[in-house]
């Protein structure tokens, strides 16, 4: 069987490596100081999609992402690893979206893509850690949903068998297609970029990415004409026949009331060295005060 697979992927600031300059003096996030990366769980989802494609010849894998023009990089990273195509949702109207508005945009885009058998994404993105967008997309498209997947064991007669993580254990479920799957961090890592594919796609770009580069000139027009696969799909709200009132900030029921840096009440602390005398003294003090038994 051939399957049409869409991978949901997000470009995220690398919050795992937050340096001292990540916050501005006003207490807002200094996005420029953080490198933008392929959300780690989404890479694991891409790997599962690519494996399905290999096991089921004729299947296609497309990477769907939403973000500013530079998020075109996510599609390129997908193409380098073996994806067939990609779509970048980019429009100012998408900006400021909470998870519900994000899932509306993604679900609407998937309807536009057409017949999709499997939608697969990471369990959660590291900049929000909410794990909400996957199930919300599934609900909007009426898809069966399996979250926290560790491995897709196989698909037979239109029914997927999936091993998934649960609290305190694992379970195996069967679920008919069409289906939305979110992939847990414990799944197999993604393959590296393929050198041949990097050569093929390194100049691939979305039109808006080029608009923001000063070197844009007729060279790309020429390239696009000769090598149409280098022109990546870029969709606005209008392109997906979206309802602007359900996108971005306008379509977000949750509002941020306040954002603040956490300032913990500093305690009066005793500073000790690691010397025998200091450690011995501390242990005795804790024992005497019956803090430890």
């Amino acid at each position: 069987m051939k399957y049409n697979i869409v991978v949901l992927a997000k470009q995220v600031p690398d919050t795992r490596n937050v340096g001292k300059d990540a916050m501005t003096a006003e207490g807002t996030v200094n996005r420029a100081a953080l490198p933008a990366i392929f959300n780690p769980d989404d890479l694991l989802a891409l790997e599962q999609a690519l494996r399905l494609k290999e096991q089921n010849p004729g299947s296609t894998v497309g990477v769907l992402t939403m973000g500013p023009p530079r998020a075109g990089e996510i599609i390129r990273q997908g193409l380098y690893r073996g994806a067939d195509t990609g779509w970048l949702l980019t429009d100012r109207l998408f900006a400021g979206a909470d998870t519900l508005a994000t899932s509306y945009a993604l679900a609407t885009a998937i309807k536009k893509i057409g017949k999709v058998d499997i939608v697969i994404g990471g369990r959660q993105a590291i900049d929000g850690d909410t794990a909400q967008v996957g199930p919300q997309v599934a609900q909007k498209l009426g898809l069966n949903q399996v979250t926290y997947a560790e491995e897709i064991l196989g698909i037979e007669d239109g029914v997927a068998t999936i091993r998934r993580h649960i609290d305190g254990g694992v379970e195996t479920v069967t679920a008919p297609l069409p289906i939305l799957i979110t992939v847990n961090g414990s799944a197999e890592p993604c393959r590296p970029a393929n050198a041949r594919l990097v050569m093929k796609y390194k100049r691939a770009a979305c039109p808006l990415e080029l608009d923001s580069t000063p070197s844009r000139d007729t060279y790309y027009d020429y390239l696009y004409e000769k090598k149409p696969w280098l022109k990546l799909n870029q969709w606005s709200v209008a392109d997906i026949d979206g309802d602007p009132s359900q996108c971005g900030l306008a379509g977000s029921p949750t509002k941020v009331k306040a954002v603040q840096n956490i300032v913990f009440q500093a305690k009066e602390s005793k500073t000790l060295t690691g010397s025998d005398a200091d450690v011995n003294g501390l242990i005795k003090e804790l024992l005497n005060e019956r803090i430890i038994g």
Binding site: T254, V256, L272, V279, I283, I291
Partner: protein
């Protein structure tokens, strides 16, 4: 109408602890708002088994959904139970655990009802809100407070115009407390077929292994916790030795878990376990806010770090400036020598 709802997760006939923690919090929110606390439980063979685990937390009304196929949990039937119940009952707040189940169910329900959902809240409060853009004033909204952006900031989220206001909370963040063992709440056993169409049961659980927790990190009175600074899996052996001596448990920061030094279930912080021990010994932990959110209410905090300016030192009672691998053997040695 307008009551506070808690979705109670069940494993067989046992109600999850996180649900009882949320019932305790839900009771307080309901009192502040002057409304009732309602609970929902769905499973198989739970009638007569779960009431005593739910009502004593001050639940005024418990809705029970009991039918084959409702346990083990799958997404669609539980979603339709909540969606259809909420359409009838119109709650203003719905809380659920930020567990695998809650994080599968919550977003599906919120999408269906077009209501906002905030994940992994660390505090829930009631307060007013003024929308700067529209100039509209709202009374008594649920403040959903959570660390955001990898735990580097704290955000207060509100859902002004959509109901219910939904939030998930991780296990251990709230403290459970029985209000009255004999609390008189009403129990309503609903007809599941009226809520859940047969087509909802298409996803089947064919195999399932659940192990009892290997450790009791959440309830430990002493926690020895390691960060990336511990350096290796082997480095954690020292932490386990000290924890064993002190009858404590070993925890870890996200960085140490991501590096593969210890199992994921030992992670302390906003996206892990929240602990409230008597003594918290932080070994080589710098103290990202997302970690501190999970341990700041510890009694005595001891930080062992080569960096005297590590952020965690600000909230520590004792700071030992030194290498973990030098200090821990001494702590073990002198504990053995002095405790006899």
């Amino acid at each position: 109408m307008n009551n506070v709802f808690v979705y109670c997760e069940t494993e067989g006939t046992k109600v999850a602890e996180v649900s009882q923690e949320l019932l305790t919090k839900g009771r307080k929110l309901a009192d502040t708002l002057g409304v009732q606390l309602h609970a929902v439980a769905a499973g198989e063979g739970i009638t007569g088994k779960v009431e005593d685990q739910i009502l004593p937390y001050g639940v005024d009304k418990l809705f029970i959904f009991d039918a084959p196929g409702l346990f083990p949990y799958t997404s669609a039937p539980h979603t339709d139970i909540l969606v259809n119940l909420f359409k009838r009952e119109q709650p203003q707040i719905c809380l659920m655990g930020a567990t695998v189940i809650g994080r599968d169910l919550g977003p599906r329900v919120s999408s269906s009802l077009t209501s906002g959902l905030t994940a992994d809240c660390t505090q829930l409060e009631i307060g007013d809100y003024d929308d700067v853009k529209t100039g509209k004033h709202y009374d008594n909204l649920l403040y959903q407070i959570r660390p955001a952006f990898g735990g580097n900031i704290v955000a207060t989220i509100v859902n002004p115009d959509h109901r219910p206001q939904m939030a998930t909370v991780r296990s251990g963040v709230m403290q459970k407390q029985i209000l009255d063992p004999a609390y008189k709440g009403e129990v309503v056993v609903e007809d599941v077929a009226k809520f859940v169409p047969e087509v909802d049961f298409v996803v089947k659980v064919i195999d399932r292994h659940v192990e009892a927790a290997k450790h009791n990190l959440k309830g430990a009175s002493i926690v020895v916790s390691g960060g990336y600074g511990v350096g290796s899996k082997e480095g954690f052996d020292l932490l386990f030795t000290l924890a064993r001596e002190l009858h404590g448990e070993v925890g870890a920061s996200r960085a140490a878990v991501d590096a593969g030094f210890v199992d994921h279930d030992r992670q302390i912080g906003q996206t892990g376990v929240t602990v409230h021990p008597k003594v918290y010994i932080a070994c080589g932990i710098s103290g990202q806010i997302q970690h501190i959110a999970g341990m700041k209410d510890s009694g005595i905090i001891i930080s062992i770090n080569t960096d005297p300016d590590a952020p965690i030192n600000k909230i520590a009672d004792y700071v030992i400036v030194g290498k973990v691998e030098d200090v821990l053997p001494k702590m073990i040695k002198y504990y053995k020598a002095n405790s006899k």
